[in-house]
Structure formats: C-alpha cells, structure tokens
Symmetry: D2
C-alpha cells in the first residue's frame, strides 16, 4: 500500500449499493478497501461467504477474504462509504463521523440536514464548504458526513445546472421512467412489471422535488440557501434493467433556443473535469442530435456510466424548453457519484 493511498471501509457492504461500491473501487488509484461492514448476520464471515454477489463482474480478489465487521466505529480505515439501508443509516453514520471517520453516504437520512452537503461535484462542489459548519456545530473533529442525492435527482440536477447558470430556471416539470435496479434486490417482482408500467415509486417524487432545490442552491455566508425553482415530478417504473429516463420541461428566466441550450449542456465542465479526478467523465453531459436518443440500453454506459445523456432538445409550448435525460442509476445515480464526491473532498483537503 503506497503511502498516498487512503484506507476505505464500506458500510452495508453486502447490499446492492455496497456491492457496487466494492466493484467500482477495485483498482481505484487513491482508495483501497480495507474494511467491510454489514449486519450481525454477516459479521465474522469472509466477504465472499457473507455476500450474495449479483454483479456481472467477479468479486474483486482483494476483498474476497476480508472478514465482515459490524457497522461500528473501530474499522481500520479513514473514509467510509455508506450504502446502509435508511432504516439504520442515520445514527450509524453519525457515530462514525463523531469517531473521526469521513462518511460519504448514498443514504437519504442526512441529505436534507442543513449542515450536511448534498453533493454532485459537477453541480455544487462549493457546497462542501458547509462541512466546516457541520464539524463546529456537531463537535466533530476530523470526521464529517457528506451525501449524494437520490438516483433520479442526480441525472436531473446535472442537466439543470448549466441551464440554470446560463439562463435561469424558474420551474421544472419532470416525468421519469425508471429502471428496475433502482428498487434493489429482490425489488420489483417480475409478475408486477412484465407487460406493465408502475406509476408510483414510494417517496421518489418528494425526493426529486426537495433535493433538486438544495443541489441548485447557493452556498453563501457559511450556509446553503435552496434555489427558488419549483419542481414537479411524476415517477414511473418501467421494464428496463439499468438507466433512468426523464422527460423534462423547464421555464427559463432568459430566452434561448435549441442550439443555445445544447451548447450550454455540451460545454458544461465542473471541478471533476478540471481536476481530472479518477472517476470524472471526460464530458459530464453528452448531447445527442438523433431524434430517438437517448435510449437506456444504448446510452447508459457512456463514459463508464458516469456521463448523463441529453437528447430531443426542443421548445416546449407550455413552459419554455423540453428534453430527455438519461443516467445510469446505479453508477452515476449512486455509488459512482459517491466515489466522485470522495475524490472531490480529498482534493479540497477534507480527508487530510
């Protein structure tokens, strides 16, 4: 282990998000998985025995024999990624932060805490400044909690950000067609979704309508001030494995046209691109001109699943402009953004 490597633990390591963390962190240039934690049922077993591995690549050799620990401070690492179930994530993550661990979480529990950053590095990297306030208020030392948004919110916010910056957004109406992997395993029964659409995903619309405002908000004077944008979401589950599609309409403060919007999206770059972070896609937003793109199966893996794809940009007779956004819900929409968040936080000195 090189002296620049950071030891990493994964909380909820046997779950769907935890497995994705384990998979994506294999061969990471900065982070090295040294601790895996899960519930009592798994504790003590080697990871390969404790987990029912469901990803298409094999379990990374480096973690096969790591014994699974309980989710309690004391893990041999400095940074933990949390893929914990929201039923238990809240106090566990707080305990780790209090014990000087950097906690980078995909769970919803602390997302809306006023002193916790809800981060997508291409959208609101500066919000990580709130961590200073968090440490002071909560009496944390080196520890802190940072979170990423809900899967459907991440794709949306990435597409909205350059539009908001350039033209101003007052209102957003979004209808999603979300992939089955978003519900975890076993998740949706095959009998429910075969030849069907489910027009409801519990709490999803509330998350999109709430989290987007924090993401597009301003960090100023040591506080995050939510954007005043109004968001309306309608969320559906469709018969797709990976890749959330979103049909979006936006009302703008300043007029533009198809080319103006496309250019703003296409040229968008954020700190991950500028810093050349390991998990940064070269282009965070890919704009396609074909009339029938993006499509989940064809476009979800663009830039290793870290880019979002936007297509069908056109005027909206009701609001101002409309378009379609696709993002890989378990990579860019979950573990991938969490890892990018940790990379960003390191470059900003929060892991020192």
């Amino acid at each position: 282990m090189s002296k620049n490597e950071i030891k990493v633990g994964i909380l909820g390591a046997t779950g769907a998000v935890g497995q994705r963390f384990v998979q994506l962190l294999e061969n990471h240039p900065w982070f090295r998985v040294t601790a895996l934690a899960a519930s009592e049922r798994s504790a003590g077993k080697p990871y390969s025995e404790a987990v029912t591995w469901r990803l298409d690549t094999p379990i990374p050799a480096a973690v096969v024999e790591i014994p699974v620990s309980l989710c309690e401070p004391g893990l041999d690492c400095d940074l933990v990624f949390s893929g914990l179930d929201s039923a238990v994530a809240g106090p566990i993550e707080a305990a780790f932060a209090a014990a000087d661990y950097a906690v980078v979480s995909n769970s919803k529990n602390h997302r809306m805490d006023e002193d916790v950053p809800l981060l997508v590095p291409e959208v609101n990297a500066d919000h990580c400044g709130i961590i200073d306030r968090q440490r002071k208020r909560r009496g944390y030392g080196r520890g802190f909690i940072a979170t990423n948004p809900n899967c459907s919110t991440i794709g949306l916010a990435m597409a909205l950000k350059p539009i908001a910056d350039r033209f101003g957004i007052t209102r957003v109406a979004v209808t999603t067609m979300q992939a089955l992997s978003g519900a975890g395993y076993p998740g949706v029964s095959s009998l429910e979704i075969l030849d069907n659409v489910l027009p409801y995903i519990g709490e999803e619309e509330e998350k999109m309508e709430r989290e987007t405002l924090k993401l597009l908000g301003r960090f100023h004077d040591g506080r995050i001030k939510n954007a005043r944008t109004v968001v309306s979401a309608q969320c559906n589950r469709v018969h797709v494995q990976d890749g959330h599609m979103e049909c979006v309409s936006v009302a703008l403060e300043n007029e533009t046209d198809v080319n103006g919007l496309a250019e703003a999206l296409r040229n968008h770059r954020g700190p991950p691109q500028e810093l050349g972070l390991p998990f940064a896609p070269r282009r965070p937003i890919i704009v396609r001109d074909e009339p029938d793109r993006p499509q989940p199966r064809i476009d979800r893996d663009a830039e290793n699943g870290m880019a979002v794809t936007v297509g069908r940009i056109r005027p909206c007779p009701v609001l101002d402009m409309k378009f379609v956004v696709l993002s890989h819900n378990t990579v860019r929409g979950a573990a991938g953004t969490a890892i990018l968040n940790a990379e960003l936080l390191r470059t900003r000195g929060f892991l020192d």
Copy 2:
C-alpha cells in the same frame, strides 16, 4: 338480416386496425359486416386466406368466406369503417363519401379538415353537426367523412373534457408511455425495445398537440373553433403490449382540489351513456384511489377496453393538478371509438 341492420364495409380489412374492426363488430346489434376491402394483393381471396390474423380470438365465422374486394366504391354496404394506411386513405375515403357512403375513419388524413368532425362521443358529440357543412361544401349527398383522433389523444381528451367543462384548462403538459401495439405489425423490432425505452414516436407529439385543441373546441355557428388551450406532449414507447399511460399536468382557470377533480372525472357522462349506445362503457372514466394505479396490464380492459382509467390525482407545484391516464390504445384508442362514433352518428340521423 333484420331490416334495422346496417350493412358495413371495412376498408383496409386485412391490416391491424381492420382486423380489430372485424373482431369488435362480431355480434354487433346494429352493424353487419357485408364487405371487406383491401389492396390488390388480397382482392378476390376469401378473407380467411387474405388475412394473417393476429388477434387472440378466432376470425368471426360470418366473415371467413367473404371475398376481399378492392377499396373502390361499389361495395355492398352503406357505411364503411376505414383502417386504411395514411399513405392511401385520403382520396379513397373521399371517393367513398362522394359515392354516398358514410365513412367513419381511424386514419389521420382528414382529421384536421375544417369541415370534418374529429369525434369522441363523450367529448364533442355536437361536432358531428359540421357534417351538414361538409356535405354542402363538397357536394356530397348521403355520404360524409367522420374521423376519430390518434390513439394517445383519445385517452387524454376524455380525461380533459370534464375538467375543461368544470374548471377550464389553459395549459396541458403530457408525457406518454405507449404500448407496442400502437405501432402496428410488425412495428417495433424486439431488438429495439427489450430492456429499453424509445423516446420518440414519429409525428405523435404533433398529433396530440394539434388534435386535442379541435376536440376541446366549440361547435358554433356551423363551424368548429379550436380551444385555446396550449398542449405540450412528450411521447415514449415502452415494453407493454396494449395500453397507453399518460402522465398529465394541467393549469386551470378555476381552482379545485383532489376531490373536486376526482368527482368531475368520475361523474362524467356523455351522449353514449345517456343513449345507452351498444359500445358505450357504463362509466367512461374510472377513477382509482390506490397509490399505484392505473397500470396497463390490470386496467386496460376495464369496460371491455372502452373506459379510460385515471389515478394518482394530486396537486402539481408547477401547473395546478396532475394525474395519470390509461386507455386501451387499440380499442378505445382506435376501432372502439370509431364504432361508437358510428353509433352516435346513427342516432343523430346521419346514416338515414
């Protein structure tokens, strides 16, 4: 054949819509299929040989041996249902109308002609009055052309009508998730839609944005005046056999709440219900209160596929109210509405 029965021909009888006409008209109390017409390739053959029948019920015995004719006036019938391809429908339908046939068409060609009614009986039954003008302008005698809207427009318009009547609608944003049968046979390749969503259906958005205005328009002073409502549509194809889902948001002139909207929808009745027409659903709009309904597989066959189902009525932060509409795209959305149109036209004396 009882003397009250009306002889019916079907144009495009071997196609997807034509087959559905043949199927739905079996045992119709008023209409009796006496003529089947298709292209030269089929002409002269008995129907059962000419057609590649794709519906789940068998070919009705009464039509098995009817020889297929060419699509030219001279058919032994008074009324023709047209399921013709839009590449040829325009002049053929006009020729039949000029030759004293009542033409009730599912094709798009004449839908927006200012003197042709675009009819859904529960929405704008009075628009059939424009036929008088049509006959006069075009010099038709007993003949005329009446049309029904595009499949995705029918479900939308049925849900909008009672809302427009009671509260006034200024703007409509709709995102559809449409079934594969809407593309006809062979239609969408399995390789395109497996594990996928297609965010584009040629011309569909334009049809929804245009036809809805005519449907919600007023017939006044011998003319149809389009509604001033603004409609924005985003249309997608999903992995479902039958049943178009639509996520709708509406801006209203007069405020209401969930109960008010639900009541307006639930209580809506039109001439088909009042007249007890054979194809009329008892309830044209079924409102469901469960959080996860409607669903295509479960709800599409409500009232033999002639009812639309509305669910998830709730306030919309961007416009005023939002909800989900489902309709069976090949029954209520095509042949079923055409038959109901013919039934209405008969009660109004246009088939005399």
Copy 3:
C-alpha cells in the same frame, strides 16, 4: 343456498393458489365458498382486508366479507381445497381429513403417499378408488385427502396418457420453459429474469420424473402401481407470465406416425367429458397443425385455461416422436384441476 350445493372452505385462502380457488369457484354450480382460512396474521379480518388480491378480476362479492378463520377443523363446510404452503400443509390436511372433511389439495406433501390419489381426471380417474384404502388404513370416516400433481407434470401427463394407452411409452425426455406465475408472488425478481433464462427450478425435475409415473400407473387390486416409464426432465424459467411450454420426446412400444399420434391426442376424452363436469374442457387436448404453435400468450386460455394444446408433432431421430405441449399453469396446472378433481370425486360418491 340450494340443498344440492356443497359448502366449500379454502385453506391458504390469501395465497396465490388460494386466490385462484376463490376466483374460479365464483358462480360454481355445485360448490359454494363458505369458509376461508389462513394464517394467524389474517385470522379475524374480512377476506377483502386480509388478502392482497392480485388477479385481474375483482374479488367475488360473495366472499368479500367472509371473516378469515385459522386453518383448523371446525370450518363450516364439507369440502376444503388446500392451497397451503408445503411447509405447513402436511399435518393440517391430515387433521381436516381426520375430522371428516374431504380435502382436495394442490400441495405436494401427500402426493406420493401410497394411499392418496394423485389425480388428473382425464388421466387416472380410477385412482380415486384408493381412497377406500386410505380411509381404512388411517381410520378416517367421511374424510380423505386427494391431490393433484405439480403444474408442469399435469400438462405432460395429459399429453402422455392417450399416447401411453394407444402405443405404450417406455421413455420420455422433456425440457420445460415455465412461466413466472408458477413461482408465486413475489416469486422471481424482475432483475433475475429480464433478458434472461433461469435453467433451474428447485425440485421441479424430481417432481416431474416421479409424479408422472404415479399418474400413468395402474390401479389394481386396491393399490396404485407406478408405470415403468422412464422420465428425464430439464426445467427452465422464462420470461412469460402464464403458460408452461414443454418440448417432449417419447419412445414408444408400438410404432406410429404423425397422424396416428395427432389422432390419439385429438380424440382423447375422459370421465370429465363423458360426465359433462362443470370444469371439464370440451376437448382436453387441442392439437394444432400450424408450424409455430402452441404459443403461451395465444394458446394458454384455450377452453378457459383447462385444455392443453399440443403442436409440432413430428418424428424424433433419437427416441420415436416429439412434440410441444402447452398448459395454463395456474388453471389447468393447479386450482382448475383441483376443482375438476372435486367434481369427479363427487360424481363417484366420495363427497356423500
């Protein structure tokens, strides 16, 4: 309630098979549901509250308010249909039989008991004679247990029976492609079966290889003697809602050809047809000549799901003849056959 009606209870009434019993028994001319029993969690609640109803037709009005009982003798009925989980079915069914209830079960627990009939009325109706022996050995009075086979075995046995009778069968090789509903609810996760085939169904091959021999066996001298046929099964789960497909090859004692085999299948009739039992399909086996039939979606509902469909009959270069069988796995393959069994048992006097 007419004096000829028989009061019926359903054990496991809230489960997948139990719901199907409730659905199929609505309007049954002989049987009237008067008792519904399930686990403690449901006991005491009205059926409509206790059940999460998953079938496409509504809950029959007659049972909506029946309070759910525990699965213990004392139910107000003479006959019970059991859709109990095999984890608990064994002793409960025995207790009901001991308490003078006729028990007609879909569960596997007693299927291979030597004194319990494993019945498909068109295959081995005479096996019900073993009930006399059962009553004597077990000291039952009016009570008894009768069972139906596993879903995939029923379709196979129905196709094999007329062939065995006419030509003799020595060996059977069968590969199945089974529907998702066979796994119950929630059953197979959508993530497991989307774009996939699962080449394994727990215990299914053993059941087919074992139960088929009892079904084709002879009832002689008060005992059931298994057939000497050798059966080899390979079972797969595919992306289909209802309808098990089976590719079958058979080795025969006496030679035949395609026409001979088709005729034997097509002409097969059993006691249900002769007696005109309410649930009897007119033709238990439908033979199709098209090269690409049967297909699950098109053929599973033939004769209300009670007929099996056979197609692609042709010589097999390895054994003698091969063909494809389709049956509706939750109707003919489960609750439907159980009801037909009860009808048969009544006509044979076992319910007196």
Copy 4:
C-alpha cells in the same frame, strides 16, 4: 500498414453479421479492413452513410469513410469475410474464391459441400485439409471457401467434442432457447415475443441435426466422413437479446459420471489455445458448478463472448448424461468463430 497485415474485405458489410465483423475486427493484430461491399443500394456511399449501425460501440473510425463497393471480385484485399444473405451468398462466394480470394463465410450455402470445411477451430481444425481437394476439384488457385456452422450448432458442437473424444457419443437430444439477435434486424416483432415463446425457428432444427455430424466427423484420406451420431433438435425463440441456451442429453459409448464429464469439458483445449490465436478464448469451455448457471445475461460475455459455458451436468435417466450449454450467438456463434477460422487458416498456410 505493417507488411504482415492481411487486407480484409467484408461482404454484406451493412447487414447484422457484417456489422459484427466490422466491430470485432477493429484493432485486430493481423487483419485490416480495407474493403466493404454490399448491395447496389449502398454502393458508392461512405460506410457510415450506407449503414444503419446497430451495435453498442461506435463505428470504428478506420472504416467510417471507406466507400462501399459492390460484391464483386476486384476488391482491394486478399481475404473476405462473408455475412451475405443466403439468398445471394452461394454464387458470389464462389466467384470470389475463383478470383483467388480466401473466403471465410458465415452463410449456410456452402456449409454442406463435401469439399468445403465446416469449421470450429476447437472442434475440427484438421478439416481445413479438405481445402486442397476443393482447390483441385474446382480449379481454384489461391482462393477457397471455408465456412462456420449455424449459431446454435457451434455451442452444441463445442460441448460435444471433448465428450465424443473421451467417451464416444451415439445420440444427442437438444432443446434450444434462442436469443432474438439470432433472427437479425428487424427480425422478430416485439408483438410476437412479449410474454411469449415461439416454438419454431425455420430450418434451425435441420441445420443442427445435419451440421453437427459433419463437425464431429473425421477427416481421413482427403475426405470428411460424417459422424454416426444421431441428433434430435427442438428449437425455440425466447425473450432474450443475446445468448443461446441449450438443454442437452447424450448417450455415451463409455460410461462416465458428473466429475468425469466436467473434467473432460473443463480441460478441453484446441489449436486456437495451443497457438495462442488472437481471438482464442483462454478456456474454450467454462464449467460452472452452481445449480442455476449458465444464464444468458450473466454468462454470455465470458472471454469476450468466445467461451461457451456448461452447467448443470447430471445423469440423464433416459440417455446417459445431461447438461446446459450457453454460447453468445453473434460472437462465438457467428462472426467470432469466422475470425478464429481465418486465424487458424493463416497459421496453416492457407492465406499465403
């Protein structure tokens, strides 16, 4: 272009198989695509305009601007891969061979010609010796025709070969569940396969029953002598994108058990492995011990789609042993094997 590179043309370059050739040959260490040929409709256009590219990776930059030629000798290359439709492949391929081109074809037309090798390098590499006879008989100079088998036959033959070598095979019964990509584009309509299985694929069973015998045959005394094995195939299309599953039973000359069979399969190596050919999978056959593998979605891409995966090895009560085979139908089952054939033929001097 290095002097060791071989110039390659692709016949039928715009079709499904042709596109796969183009994709797989990008960056090939020996072969460089210098000519693309298709029908008159495409001729003269740059490849990127002529083709409707349907693969998930982009069109290789090196071929984007190659102008499409007609399928006639005169192409600037020494070797042609043929993905031509069988309606035209026969005489075109013969014309190229006569004009001194090496023709490596995926089309069925010449597969069963007695002087044409039907090759899978791990199965019957020595059959390429028949090319000497072909050249002599047909008067070819440097040219020749070599073919690969049908997609479903390749996976089967690869699994059978080591079993035949070690234990002898007298009879084979196979039931396939084949992927949609095997039917090309547009191929199977989504309306035919949604919630369905198609129990028929035109000519597929005949091909499997015929081609397997040639593959397992002996090349002796300048002739290929078919194996005496008897094969019976039942072929089905299922709702899977890529990956053919096959349930196989075999009768053996010499007894073995699960371990013996597994070992024979697992240890099999052929000339591609020994020679380290560029497209050779390290292990041509992967044996899995889990009860529920192989599965198409999880296992089809093993070794870049060039390995076949065998699982569920167990005794067969009817024949001797049974198991499940999976192969990627458009890689190992088509273009990938053709390329491996060309690599083999080069090492044997046939491209000199």
